[in-house]
């Protein structure tokens, strides 16, 4: 029941995004081509060949229903058309960039989840003092800072002032590394600041969630009972508090992961990191509609998959749901 309800929601979301992608460019005054030519911000110049490509892409000479049919067909065959700027199939362009984003977002995700949960747990454990209050307020402050600002601060500090890390990019250009080891060092060197920025931006919110949840669990009678049983603090924190507090956190963390993916747009722009976030920014500025379409569909599907994964993981961790299902209740 619960799951099917969620699935319906996800289908609606997918439908909604696809519809937006279909309708918005066609709703623009005079259609996408006129809009681009007469656009207020002049820098976008399109050649006749591009116009043809665009007309071709949108099938503007066909009826609305045929356009819709082609559009839907394209989605199911992963055929998002040819990118205007890269002159390559959208699918390939995205696939070239995707690994970089997955690298920094993946590492930042793991780091922020681990740090956020441990810090939140310890902070809840020490809930009593003013010490925790200061920590709490500073975390709230950090969680509100837009991530591109954090990124800029890091660039200012570590790249401009002290020159410890590269200003941007994912690898040193025109650099031929001696073997995979040098390559690895070069890549990780470039990834440090983006990863740290994403981690900082995400850790604070996970910390706050975890802290609240752990404080709630610590007030449960079974914690007092475990204490009365003489269970050590380490075991209490790990087996009793963490396991119970993490259940509601999982869904929220996963939803935030989707946000992290979208948030990579900003961080990658700050560090000119060649991931799909940076690609998205370029595509929006250049009005590369096929590429935009592909990116939006990809990100939406990614977010939906994450949500579905969270729905699946939850019952695995909570025995109460599992047995309820087996019993047919």
């Amino acid at each position: 029941m619960r799951r099917s309800k969620h699935t319906v929601t996800y289908l609606y979301v997918l439908f909604f995004v696809l519809l937006l992608n279909f309708v918005l460019p066609r709703l623009l005054p005079g259609g996408p081509i006129d809009f681009l030519e007469g656009g207020e911000d002049g820098p976008v110049f399109i050649s006749d060949a591009q116009k043809v490509a665009m007309r071709d892409y949108y099938h503007l000479d066909e009826s609305a229903w045929m356009q819709l049919a082609d559009y839907v067909k394209g989605i199911f065959t992963f055929d998002f058309g040819q990118s205007f700027t890269y002159k390559m199939p959208v699918y390939e362009v995205i696939m070239n960039r995707l690994p970089w984003t997955l690298l920094i977002v993946g590492v930042a995700t793991v780091l922020s989840i681990v740090i956020g949960i441990v810090a939140g747990l310890l902070s809840a454990w020490r809930h009593a003092g003013d010490h925790d209050r200061g920590w709490f307020l500073s975390m709230i402050s950090v969680s509100t800072i837009p991530d591109f600002l954090t990124g800029m601060l890091f660039v200012l500090g570590f790249s401009v002032k002290w020159d410890w890390f590269p200003l941007g990019g994912a690898a040193t250009p025109f650099y031929t590394p001696n073997g995979w080891w040098d390559l690895l060092i070069d890549v990780s060197w470039h990834a440090v600041l983006p990863v740290v920025t994403l981690t900082v931006a995400n850790t604070a919110s996970i910390y706050l969630l975890m802290r609240n949840e752990a404080i709630r669990v610590l007030r449960e009678p079974f914690i007092e009972f475990a204490l009365a049983k003489g269970v050590g603090s380490g075991t209490i924190l790990y087996r009793h508090v963490l396991r119970n507090a993490i259940l509601p956190i999982i869904t929220m963390v996963v939803v935030r992961l989707g946000g992290l993916l979208a948030g990579s747009v900003l961080v990658e722009t700050v560090f000119s990191y060649p991931g799909i976030g940076n690609l998205l920014q370029e595509a929006i500025l250049a009005r590369d509609y096929p590429l935009l379409h592909g990116l939006f569909v990809l990100m939406t599907v990614f977010v939906l998959l994450l949500n579905m994964a969270a729905d699946r993981i939850y019952p695995l961790l909570d025995p109460r749901i599992q047995t309820g299902k087996q019993g047919g209740a």
Binding site: L28, F222, F225, A228, V255, L261, G263
Partner: protein, 620 residues
């Protein structure tokens, strides 16, 4: 208003001041190319000029205006939508699926992604951004408001108003709005902050309104100028808008979070309290009596009352409490009290809710932090090696040996004593099997060499002892009924054979039949194992039926401590008489008869002296 909230308000006030007054002071248009490029700050250009020769201060102050406009616009629109839709979804059942479904769809996608989709296909203008953000960010708080209305709708005052044919609009406005306002206030500040961040982010990506000076745009322009990084220009082109953004977002966060009050401190210590110590096998209560003077007899002569407790600590007393008092936040929860409890007896602690019974129990078990508790508690050691069967002679032989090394040894939780609380359903961790929770309790025993399979065997044995199937070890608590959990809890309490069992209303949350069953089992098992039971209860009749001694507590004061029979027939205080008057007379007679049948063999030894001791406890 606390400090963080004050700081937040000051920052936000400065920001509003800059937005309102700044442009009047600036004198230069933000987009006018009047100055030289990248001038350093001076009396003409307060914050210097950027790479295009535009005045930075002018841009900063006009940018504050744009930020304020966008923040206010989005906050008003989004908060209104949240409030109106939340009230409607909560109050009108028909609209609920539609509104809630829409909210769910919007909540799945991160709002940045949605805004980017819209921004990608449209030209980014200020008003367009306000509308987009306003329309996309209402669902989170809408759901909170909806949930709150759903519960308020069932409340009496709303029902009453409906009976008097109050119009929905009237009820919503007059009865529900007051509850929603705090939520809306938080939502307003949150939306404001989100809008500021989102606008800056979009401008930074180059998707903002090209005709409006904004902080994000200043950052974007400066960021993409190579000169910014080559020279010191970043100090006045990047730092001012960056600081402005940082301060405004943090200020808004402090403003909304400042309302959160620190929760009450939990009175709980994670490690056993140092004021709760083991009663040494043979003797002293306080370490003040040096071991060298093991002429216990001499001490007896001088301190008659105390020495009785002392001499019988080894053989007869399971708990000795000395001047125990609990003070928290300047409020006295427990008045100083001293008493001792004979080994193998059942003592019932009776009192109204809030009289301090539970605090007393927790203090005796050492669950309270040291700083709220004063006095001392001594508990006889338990477990398989320190059980009450130890002979008196061996006790005396090792007085000094034990005294030297472990005179101040704290109790070993669950081995020397065990503590079970009200609701068995809440006492078990829902995510661990019963077996896992048994294993945990067995880790504290001295014999740490026992293997997992041995522990499992012991756990099975314990379950069988309370007539439960040993297959339950692999079950989760939610699969068992309240009565079964009550039995399991009992088995768990008996597993290490502690000398003392403290039961804080062990049957309080169970239905009447199960209640009796569990209580009887509890007392039977305690007597069977020669354990001491400290039973805290509301139920006077149950207490009279099972207890040897009664302790009456009122307002944190120990009023009476007497054998049950004596208390019943000759209550010493008027409060006790009041309590007894509340009991149905039939039950009373029945209980008295039962008392005649039951012998009081357990407590012959030191009865008279103990009474004296109680009197001392009462007067202190």
């Amino acid at each position: 208003m606390n400090r963080s909230k004050k700081a937040g308000s000051v920052i936000v006030a400065c920001f509003v001041g800059l937005a309102l007054a700044g442009p009047l002071l600036a004198g230069v248009e933000p987009f006018a190319f009047d100055g030289e490029r990248l001038l350093t700050p001076s009396s003409v250009n307060w914050l210097g000029t950027n790479a295009l020769g535009q005045d930075v201060f002018s841009q900063l102050s006009y940018g504050a205006r744009t930020t304020l406009l966008i923040g206010l616009g989005v906050a008003v629109l989004s908060t209104t939508l949240s409030g109106v839709l939340g009230l409607m979804a909560g109050y009108f059942k028909r609209l609920d699926p539609l509104i809630n479904g829409l909210a769910n769809v919007l909540l799945v996608l991160p709002s940045l992604l949605l805004v980017l989709i819209v921004a990608a296909f449209t030209s980014g203008g200020v008003w367009q951004l306000i509308v987009t953000l306003g329309l996309l960010t209402w669902p989170g708080y809408m759901r909170l408001i909806r949930a709150s209305v759903l519960s308020l709708r069932e409340r009496e005052f709303v029902k009453a108003s409906q009976l008097f044919h109050g119009k929905p609009s009237y009820i919503l406005r007059k009865h529900l709005m007051p509850f929603i306002v705090p939520l809306l206030r938080t939502k307003f500040i949150l939306s404001f902050r989100q809008a500021v961040t989102m606008e800056a982010s979009l401008s930074f990506l180059g998707l903002g309104d090209p005709n409006q000076p904004t902080w994000g745009k200043m950052l974007e322009q400066a960021f993409h100028q190579t000169e910014t990084w080559m020279t010191t220009a970043w100090q006045w082109t990047i730092v001012p808008p960056m600081l402005a953004l940082l301060l405004v977002t943090i200020g808004l966060a402090l403003l909304s979070e400042g309302e959160h009050q620190q929760g009450n401190r939990l009175l709980r210590s994670y490690s056993p309290s140092s004021r709760v110590k083991l009663l040494l096998a043979s003797s002293e209560i306080a370490a003040s009596v040096p071991c060298a003077h093991s002429s216990v007899k001499a001490a007896e002569q001088t301190q008659r009352t105390e020495h009785c407790t002392a001499t019988h600590a080894g053989s007869d007393n399971a708990v000795v409490v000395h001047d125990l008092s609990v003070v928290h936040n300047g409020r006295t929860i427990l008045q100083p009290m001293s008493f001792s409890i004979a080994a193998g007896s059942v003592t019932a602690i009776i009192g109204e809710s809030g009289s301090g019974k539970t605090t007393l129990a927790r203090a005796v078990y050492g669950l309270l932090p040291d700083d709220v508790m004063s006095g001392a508690v001594y508990i006889r050691s338990g477990g398989t090696n320190g059980s009450s069967e130890t002979s008196g002679t061996s006790d005396t032989s090792n007085i000094c040996a034990t005294n030297g090394s472990s005179a101040e040894r704290g109790i070993n939780r669950w081995v020397d004593a065990a503590f079970i609380v009200q609701d068995p359903r809440l006492s078990f961790n829902p995510l661990l099997t019963i077996g896992q929770q048994f294993m945990e309790a067995m880790q504290g025993t001295d014999a740490s060499s026992i293997t997992v399979s041995e522990k499992r065997l012991a756990a099975k044995q314990a379950l069988r002892e309370v007539q439960l199937s040993d297959r339950l070890l692999d079950s989760y608590p939610h699969e068992l009924s309240g009565g079964m959990l009550g039995r399991a809890l009992l088995a768990l309490a008996l597993i290490n054979k502690p000398s003392l069992l403290i039961a804080d209303e062990p049957t309080g949350a169970l239905d009447p039949i199960v209640k009796w069953e569990i209580l009887n089992l509890l007392v039977t098992k305690v007597r069977e194992h020669g354990m001491t039971l400290l039973l805290i209860t509301h139920d006077h009749q149950a207490a009279l039926r099972v207890a040897d001694d009664m302790m009456i507590i009122k307002d944190g004061q120990l009023l009476e401590h007497a054998p049950a029979e004596q208390w019943l027939h000759h209550p010493a205080t008027s409060y006790s008489r009041e309590l007894q008057a509340l009991m149905p007379s039939i039950r009373r007679r029945h209980i008295s008869e039962e008392f005649k049948k039951v012998g009081f063999q357990h407590r012959e030894g030191c009865r008279n002296l103990k009474k004296e001791q109680r009197n001392v406890g009462r007067t202190t």
